[in-house]
């Protein structure tokens, strides 16, 4: 599964990190880093992350 975060929208809210810690995390400066080719077993988590992103910046492609 391909995960895309629109970094122009993302404001480092970090809500995605709680929902899908295997895919999203914060670096030392508090900025988002994420795995863009996430394992398909994590789909539910990533969908949840996409739901809770306040900026609706997360898309799942295929």
């Amino acid at each position: 599964m391909k995960v895309v975060v629109d970094m122009n929208k993302c404001q480092d809210h970090g809500q995605c990190v709680f929902a899908a810690p295997d895919v999203f995390s914060m670096d030392d400066e508090g900025h988002l880093v994420y795995v863009s080719d996430a394992d398909d077993t994590l789909r539910d988590e990533v969908e949840e992350a996409a739901d809770v992103c306040p900026l609706q910046a997360i898309r799942i492609e295929a």
Partner: protein, 411 residues
């Protein structure tokens, strides 16, 4: 699976409900009735990025999940009545929709000040059209802005207006501090200081008695354009633009006549069911639900996290009933979370600070800089709020796990 679920209210709560109905296994029809002309869109940016001109309107639309692709959308259509005993909803085009399941997701509208004076020049912020109209007004050169109500939306609008270069921005509130109702005194004072340092003026402890308008316009009856705000002590604040951010009113009139408790939103049980009817649930801002995590007292929660949380739970409860599944669902117990962006700082909250306002402790930092504040009830941490930059917000997140595993509060 046959039958139809009607979702009334086509905003975030309604959309999430439709998606979660599919996720819970409902394959019957879903009809979404919404009075706004738009597909569901995200409201928080309306008082922030959209007002600031940093986010185009098109960027606000939610992308519905593929599973909800076959939902029937009846946009620009209002539900005007419901007969729960007969399982029908009546629409403003005169048609009647029979349903097997009903999701109430009609949310809130801004409360308006009832005091006399002209209507033109007075704004609220709830819809795209509201934000567009207010942005047009704020970007006219030399405008003076009075914001009535120092809650979250009022303070966000004031901050955005200053950011747009508006030179006179005044916030009026009968309470002594901004956002003091939900956050308590310490943070209220810290927020006041930050806003004042950034050129927002506050007139606190004073209510609004009326509005002044153009000479020549009739003194009451809504004619003319606003020119000033009359305070309860008689002072007049000159104003070209007034923003009323004095709370909201639930859109529940269409549910009247069914014997429901509509005194503050629509009352639900611990499974978000309404009026003891397992085929009717409520989600989002309009739902007044008991939270098993806290004292079980039903409350409405106007946080962005709630439409999604309520939709997940309500959809499971509704589909279990409609399919005859004997699923015993645990009572609904969400961890509320909200944020607010004002000037360059963010407030980030987890839990229910409002329940712990009498026992507030600084957990980290200090009130003049980045700060993390803990709210306690009966000695237990019930909420944390961070104020400051991104690092502070992430600091609050570290307490999230603790808030999640704490035992339920008893009344």
């Amino acid at each position: 699976m046959t039958g139809r679920i009607v979702v009334a209210g086509a905003s975030m709560g309604g959309l999430r409900a439709a998606e979660q109905l599919r996720a819970a296994g409902w394959s019957g029809a879903i009809t979404m009735v919404g009075d706004e002309p738009h597909m569901p869109y995200n409201r928080p940016p309306l008082s922030k990025e959209v007002l600031a001109g940093k986010a185009p309107f098109e960027s606000l639309a939610f992308t519905p999940k593929a599973a909800a692709a076959d939902v029937e959308w009846r946009l620009g259509t209002r539900a005007v009545a419901a007969r729960l005993a007969e399982r029908t909803v009546t629409l403003d085009d005169g048609s009647t929709l029979p349903y097997d399941g009903l999701v109430i997701a009609t949310g809130m509208r801004p409360r308006r000040l009832g005091c006399p004076g002209p209507l033109t020049g007075r704004h609220t912020v709830r819809t795209l059209a509201d934000a567009q109209g207010l942005r047009d007004a704020l970007t006219r050169p030399g405008v003076r802005v009075v914001v009535v109500g120092a809650g979250f939306i009022g303070c966000e609008v004031a901050a955005t207006a200053v950011g747009l270069g508006v030179r006179e921005v005044t916030v009026v509130d009968p309470l002594p501090l901004p956002m003091v109702g939900p956050l308590g005194e310490q943070l209220g004072r810290a927020l006041l200081k930050r806003h004042e340092e950034r050129r927002v003026r506050f007139v606190l402890g004073t209510g609004v008695a009326g509005f002044e308008g153009d000479p020549g316009a009739p003194p009451s009856g809504g004619g003319g354009r606003v020119t000033g705000v009359v305070l309860s002590d008689g002072t007049v604040l000159p104003a070209d633009v007034v923003v009323e951010s004095v709370g909201s009113v639930a859109n529940v009139e269409w549910l009247e006549g069914n014997g429901l408790d509509l005194s503050d939103g629509v009352l639900t049980d611990g499974q978000l069911r309404v009026g003891g009817r397992p085929e009717v649930v409520a989600v989002g801002d309009v739902a007044r639900f008991p939270n098993a995590r806290y004292d079980g007292v039903p409350r409405r929660v106007e946080h962005w996290s709630i439409p999604t949380d309520t939709a997940k739970h309500a959809a499971k409860a509704l589909v279990a009933h409609l399919t005859g599944a004997q699923a015993e669902l645990a009572p609904f117990a969400p961890l509320p979370t909200f944020w607010s962006d004002q000037h360059e700082f963010r407030l980030q909250s987890f839990g229910a600070p409002v329940l712990g306002k009498d026992d507030v402790r600084i957990l980290d930092g200090d009130l003049d800089g980045d700060v993390l504040v803990g709210y306690h009830a009966g000695g237990l941490l019930v909420g944390v709020v961070a104020l400051g930059g991104q690092a502070a917000a992430m600091g609050a997140a570290r307490y999230r796990a603790q808030l999640l595993k704490q035992p339920a509060l008893t009344a």
